[in-house]
Every structure is written in C-alpha cells, then in structure tokens.
Amino acid sequence: MSSVQPYVPNKDFIYRAADALADSHLQQALAKAGRGFVDKRSAAVTRVPNFEAMRDRARAVRQKALQDLDIYLLHFEKKVTEAGGQVHWAETPAQMREIVLQLCARHSATRVTKGKSMVGEEVYLNEALEKAGITPFETDLGEYILQLAKEPPSHIVAPALHKTRAQIQDLFLHHHALGERDLSAVEAIVDEARQVIRDRFLRADIGITGANLLIAETGTVAIATNEGNGDLTATLPRAHIVTTTIDRVVPTWEDASAILRVLARSATGQQTTTYTSFFTGARGDTDKDGPEAFHVVLLDNRRSQLLGSEYQEMLHCIRCGACMNHCPVYQAVGGHTYDSVYPGPMGAVLTPLLRHRDGDYQLPNASTFCGRCESVCPVKIPLPDLMRKLRNREQQEARFKGAGYWITKVFCALAASPRLYRALTSIGTKLAAALGARRGRFSKLPLLGGWTAHRDFPAPQGGSFQSQWRRNGKAQPPVGACPAGD
C-alpha cells in the first residue's frame, strides 16, 4: 500500500538533491518523462515557420501589459464589476486565504471543487479551507493524485510528473473503495478518476480555478486546459472564484491570442490546448448556464516590488514550464528538490524574490548556466542573467561571508592582476604536473572530492595554457583549444 506520510523536505538543496538522486521511484518517473516534453515542443515549433516572430510578439505583449499595469488592472476591475462580478485585492497569501474563506462563508459553501491553480498552491489554500471545515476537491488529475498522496506539485504544468503509474495505481486502490479491479492500464486509471470526480463536480457549492490570462478589455478570465475539469469547476457551482495574481493581465483579446499561440506550443507541444475558455462575470439573463456569482482575487505577494526593478522581466512569465522541461538540473533531481511551488529555472528566480525564506538563495546557485531555459522561454526571459543577479544579491545581503565568497574575492583580485595570476598559475601547474607525473592523473585531491569521487582528475601536461600560448604563438593554437566563450 502507498505511504501517505506528509512530505517534509530537508532544509538544504544539496541534501534534497542527494535524496532525489537516490529515490528510485522518482528516477524512474523522471526517466519516463524523459525527452517527452522536449521533443513535443521541438516538433510543434518547427511546424510553424514564424515561431520566433510569435515569441517576439508575446514578449512585446507582456512588456506592454506591465508598462501600464495600473490602467489595465483598473479597467479589468471595472469590466468585471459591470459583468456582475467582483474583484478583491490581496497583498499577502494570508489575505488571499482570508478573502476566499469569507467568500465561502458568504455562499454557505462546504464543498469546493478546484481546478489547477499555482497561486492556490502558493498561498496554501487547501490547508486553509480544510482548517475551516470546507472540503476542497482537486479535479485536475495530477492535482487529485497529489491530494491523495498528500504531496505538493513537482511541475507547474504536470504536477504529478514525479509519480509512477504503479504509485498512482496504489493510491487509487487505497483511497477508492471500489473492490478488486485491474488498474494496470493508464486508461483504467483515468476512467476511474473521471467517475469518482464527476459526482463532485455536480455537488460542489463553489468552484475555484486559477487563470492563465486576465483580459483587461472585457474583464475576462482565460483558462487553457486539456482535461475539461477547469470548465466544469467554473460552470457548475453557484459561485466561481478565481485565484490569480496582478501580473496575469493583458490589454486585449488580440494580445491574449499572441500569448496563447506560444503557450501550448512551449508547454506541451500542442498547437492549442483542447479547451481555451473565457469567463466574464456571473451568469447573465440570457446565458444558458454559469454561476450566479463571480469573484476574482488578485494577489500581489511582492510582485509589485519587482516592477521597475532589475527583475521586472520575471513578471513576463506565462507559466509554460518549458524552462524546467529543458533544465539538466530539473531533469536530474525533479521539482520537489526546489522545495517551492515554482521549481526549475523560473522557480530559481521567483522563489527568492517572492518568498524570501532562508535557503531560497540556494536555488539560483543550483544552475549550470547552460542557457537552455532562456533559449526556449517563449517570452525570452533572461533566466541565467536573473539568477546571476540573485547570486550577487545574496553576497551583498549576506551577514557572514562563506568560503565561496572569499574564494571568489581572491580569484577576482588575481584575475585583475595578470602578472600575479600568470605567476601563480604557472607555479600551480608545474607543481601539479610534478606531483601527478607518475600516473598522469589524481584519484584524490583536496577540495575536489566531489569530482574525484566519480572520476580521476587529469594531471596537467606541459605548463599552463598561457605559457603554452606564449610558446606556440597564435598561429598554432594548442591541440584541444576551445572556442571563445565564458
């Protein structure tokens, strides 16, 4: 039977990463996910000849939206109100939770269905609802699996990416009292979820969803999904609450199109998601269905502080997940290692900026700076650059400077003085060459245990690069010389 121990992460990234690497279930799940997302995205973007132009347009839309964010938010609010809805503003996660709980009380809700909302995860909404005696039913299959497993999501698009089919099967057998049955096929698992969750849709008092976009022009909330759960959550209950953030707004429907064109292609490699739904206000007199009440709760949670700062571009993010799908660190250790609702490269930037928790600066440090995230980001966010800025900020804010700081300081001083640098590296190289001359490599080295635990370190042969360069001259580059790069 599956374990339903609540998930308690270690405080240190390095230990969480080690645990992740040793977790055979996780490694199996990550291997299965493998190149799936990467290949699908690549096929989707090569199918259109002007994907680069689409990216530029999407980026321009995000820039424009932020440039006059105040006007767009006010217009959005006005239009929602005209359409019979209400906009609520929350500065902090606690305020968002409080607003949602008040709304639940106002609508006498005891049963709530939920569509996938990363903002809901960001503010720990389920925990707050449960504490208030309200049962939140997750309806997105991935989120539902995690609700049974009592685990947080590990990916912003595919929340249960870290779960294997066998683990999901065990969870269903344990939690659904449906007798003996064969759940070995994916189809059987999905069918069972469909059956179990259907009744919850029909009996819910309130539906809570997230939003992919807010359209200022008409006060419209747009949601892109594949399962159809978001629509049933938004449409069937008496009230629809949208938990979202101030940076989701775009000016017009045309602007929404520009984002939607790059979103699905980057996220799942689809031209478009199966369902793209636009919700405006409450049910009107001539609407055939829809909720009687419509509420949009806008969360800030330090986003407004990023505006006008060197991190503003992070607010361009459209939450497609491409950066994590292409990240070698994410691919190796999975999303839980980041210990944040926002994992991967986008999370490595967002988490320290939004959460400010001890240890959050470890995240931008857990990157190889290979640059794949930036190269696939549909809105061209310079993620490595933002991580670099955060590393700097960490050093500036640090009260106690660690070894890394002093090593970098010494290196900077050396690098700024070429003569000293040459002299020291030349001595170092000669010394290392002499010590390693017999075997041509080292199996152990001080401070490099992480390297030598897995492979030998080659002993230098024939002087430092610079001395070889001086000897051989520019005409004959030394064998194996690398192209320029940082």
Binding site: A53, I71, W89, P159, I246, S257, T274, D287
Partner: protein
Amino acid sequence: MSSCRTAILSRIRQALNKRGTPTDIDEAFANLTQQVPSPVQPPLSAGTVEAFSRAAADNGAEMHRIETLEELPGWVATRAAELGQTPSVVVAPQFADTGLQWTAIETLDQVRQATDWGLAWGCAGIAETGTVVSVSRDCPSSSLFLVQRLIVVLDRADIVAYQEEVWDRLRQRFSGRIPRTVNLITGPSRTADVEQQIQIGAHGPKWTDYVIVD
C-alpha cells in the same frame, strides 16, 4: 480589503513613475490600445475550410460533412447505428427554432447520465487550430463537457482563418456585455498526468464529431 487595493496600486504607480490615476479609465484604456499591431499568425496549410478540417482531425476530432441542416437528424441516427449505440442526445436550445424533427433518436434538454451525447451548433470554427467556438448565450457550457460524445455542427460560412476574426465577430454580435462563457474546443478531452502518456477522455467528452454544413 480596499486598503490592499490602494497599497498595491500605489506601489505599481510608483514603480512605473506615474503620478496619479486618470479620471476616466475607459478613455485611458482606449488611448493605450488604439494602435493594434498586425498579428503574428501561423500560415495555413490550405484554404480555410480544408485547413480547419486537417487541423481538427490532427487534434483528434472526427470530421463529417452534410449538404443541408435538414440532413442532421438522419445523420445523428446513422452515426449512432454505425457505432452500435442508442444514445440519448442533449440537443442545444439553438436547434429549437429550426423545425428539425428528431424522431429516430431520444433527445434531452440537459445531461442525465455520463453516456449521453451532446449536439451543439458552434458560432465559429478556427482553421488555424481546428477549433470550434460556442458561447453560453447559445448553448449551456456544461453540456459541452458532461457528455460522452460531443457533436458540433458548423456552418461552412462560419469557419474563419484565425482567432482574431472570432474576437471581431464576438465584438460585433455582443456589443454590450459578452456572454459569461466563450468556449474554444479542439478535439476530445485528454490528460497526460499519468507518466506523460496521452489518454483521450479525461473529464470532458471522449469523442468529438465536427459536422460541417455546406
């Protein structure tokens, strides 16, 4: 929490170096959105209707064509027989004024059970992605999702090349308040939440038929 609203908006204005709020927000919005840049759209692989059919089929919809709307009841009955089923069909209210006779099949006003079929009349088709569009003033949104097989009828003339043309149509048709729900649907519902394996038929319909009326 009006103090939150004030605090958030003033932080935004400060960050953007703005002095105050414009008195007329509609006017301010109109000024900012006056210039509409020409959209960046993927080229179509064929003429509009053909491209629509190809993209819809690529995304899992089954494509059909009939000559006139009068053929529809017969077509639905034949389709059910072909599939060896005797479904109850939830017929969208839009068909009420058409005078169509549904003698060969059982019709319903709302979804009764999970095996029901649904029949809707889309207000537009989008060739770019093979998408059909339905609005909650025409058809209850829930019946597009609660049925097992969704049949969407489309007038050939309502198939447009790109999303933006649908937005223009919506603005023209609903100049005041747009419908509570605008649904864009592209094929059957699906999930890839179990080991990234695509499984058709999540919470919405397992099958979709698009019927173009010539």
